[in-house]
Symmetry: C2
Subunit: 341 residues, 2 copies
């Protein structure tokens, strides 16, 4: 194949210096007061021969890569997949490329990935963090790379931005809805996780049970189980708690496993048991009966995340201020919570 031309080739061909070419290509012609005529001549030639600067060389020289690292829990989770797609589109428009990875909520794996990203001179990070990476994130920020967290927060990381939803309030509102529909004995299935968003969802449940004078029935499913295992755990929870008349699932996939469990036990929704799930899913709309859920504003989250990061990327100095953006969710009432008939 035709060898890649370099900036030298094009400078030589035009009998000018590489500096001039470089300035023109980087849009600093005006600033350097290079004649319009020359600028045009260079641009035209570059276009003609299809010259593309070598990004690697540029990055090596400038220390910038125009790449944003995105770390989600799992790209196979629709919530994260959709966020990823929206962020990617948006980043593209701003000249940034996204490179993503799934953490699988594995602290060690996450640390590794961060170190790889760092090696590649990623300019900024968007992370749905697993537990235990406060130190790494702090060090990233200290060394000048902006980091925006989303979905869950990390405490005590100066200068980190965050975009999330008001989990406590969301679950509380959902619980209130169930109570108003006449449910009196509501269980809560969550993950055995210390991540902030999971804790918040639990607090929302506790707040509601306290306020409405309900008994608490919490099941904490342990992390990173196979989905069969999760179903089994929920089945046994439901068997133990025969008097539950409704159940709230703290995540998308807990909800799906919950539906399996309920089906397995032959319980009727919403007569035998009311169902509410945090985080919406196409399945919930189409399921029979349709499942009431708390939908997160995916577009808004993506927009906020990327614009926050771009803002940080723009400003030179490190700003130790944290920015926290908390968005509202939407309770989508469907058939699964319409009370005991």
């Amino acid at each position: 194949m035709k060898r890649k031309l370099s900036i030298i080739d094009i400078a030589k061909h035009l009998n000018i210096s590489t500096t001039t070419v470089s300035f023109i290509l980087n849009g600093r012609a005006k600033e350097k007061r290079i004649s319009d005529e020359l600028v045009e001549r260079v641009l035209k030639f570059v276009e003609e021969v299809g010259y593309k600067p070598n990004v690697l060389a540029r990055s090596l020289r400038t220390g910038k890569s125009n790449i944003i690292g995105l770390l989600v829990e799992s790209i196979a989770n629709p919530f994260f997949a959709n966020i990823a797609r929206l962020i990617e589109n948006n980043a593209y428009k701003n000249g940034y490329k996204i490179i993503y990875s799934s953490t699988e909520n594995d602290t060690e794996k996450t640390k590794q990935i961060l170190s790889i990203f760092r090696e590649r001179h990623v300019d900024g990070y968007i992370i749905a963090p697993p537990e235990g990476i406060e130190e790494e994130v702090t060090s990233l920020i200290k060394s000048g790379s902006p980091v925006v967290l989303f979905d869950r927060f990390l405490e005590n990381v100066p200068g980190v931005d965050f975009v999330g939803v008001n989990s406590v309030q969301s679950i509380y509102t959902g619980m209130k809805h169930l109570v108003l529909e006449g449910y009196k004995n509501i269980g809560f299935v969550t993950l055995d996780s210390l991540q902030s968003q999971m804790q918040d969802r639990l607090h929302g449940y506790e707040q509601a049970t306290a306020e409405f004078k309900l008994t608490e029935h919490v099941k904490e499913v342990s992390y990173n189980q196979s989905s069969e295992n999760i179903v089994r755990q929920i089945v046994s929870f439901l068997k133990r708690k025969r008097d539950l008349d409704a159940i709230v699932f703290a995540t998308n996939y807990l909800g799906i496993s919950g539906l399996r469990a309920i089906k397995e036990l032959g319980l009727k929704i919403p007569e035998d048991i009311g169902v509410l799930v945090f985080d919406d899913n196409e399945l919930f709309e189409l399921y029979t009966p349709s499942i009431t859920s708390i939908a997160q504003p995916i577009e808004k989250i993506s927009d906020q995340v990327i614009s926050l990061l771009l803002k940080r990327l723009d400003q030179q100095e490190i700003d130790p201020q944290n920015e926290r953006i908390i968005l509202d969710t939407e309770l989508t009432v469907r058939d699964s919570s319409s009370g005991r008939k």
Copy 2:
């Protein structure tokens, strides 16, 4: 933060030359007959100070990046999301990093992404190609970058590998199943697309209708519609074809839209209409009634794709042979195709 150390720093500190350090770090000590004692000393020091080679500089010098570019139709599609995750894990184990992007089946966007990947000196490509990028792929291969296609094929691209499923046979088998269940008037909803896999699925349908002496009823939904639009088109198709007793959907999301359409029309599955969908989905198992589907072997596809690419990456010269791996699908019979009662 502490400045990154370079290979020079470590050479200086140990009073040896950078060459030696480089050789040792790249595992060429034996070959260069460097004393074990020295090797160990260097390795120990490197470990101690946590030195990491600058990947950018290395790439600039060697022209290799250890990055594989992965192009899927949409990362929000569960089929692709799962494949992406599996491929990523596997690539990691082999020292490669994946960078992915969604094409949205947009030829122009895809060309752009390819050019960006190329700029970044991506070592190899895994692509679920949209139509019309034969030229770009050919040029990629000619310039020495291996390309593995999956899900759909591109004709006339020498040296490109492919991993896919036997779509014709799969749909044919599905049709046969419907016929055996007593369905006689089977419609086929597909995409208005020339992509090879879509054409194959259509051929499977045509082959079956011919063999079983059925009338053809094909609806080609046009590309890149909103899901509301797709539902509308399917609704009007079903209204026009009142005498259909079963329907086959050629993709995952057509199937989901189809279920919406059927619900909207108040038709009962499987009594009023039998349903079969190509490509499985969690939804299909949980839907009431559960939906019969043709499942693709996601793990096998991912394994084959990555091992094919790694093989190519290993061999130096360009091999103009194509390798085509065709895998079997699995017909998962559920309630939606159990015949008219």
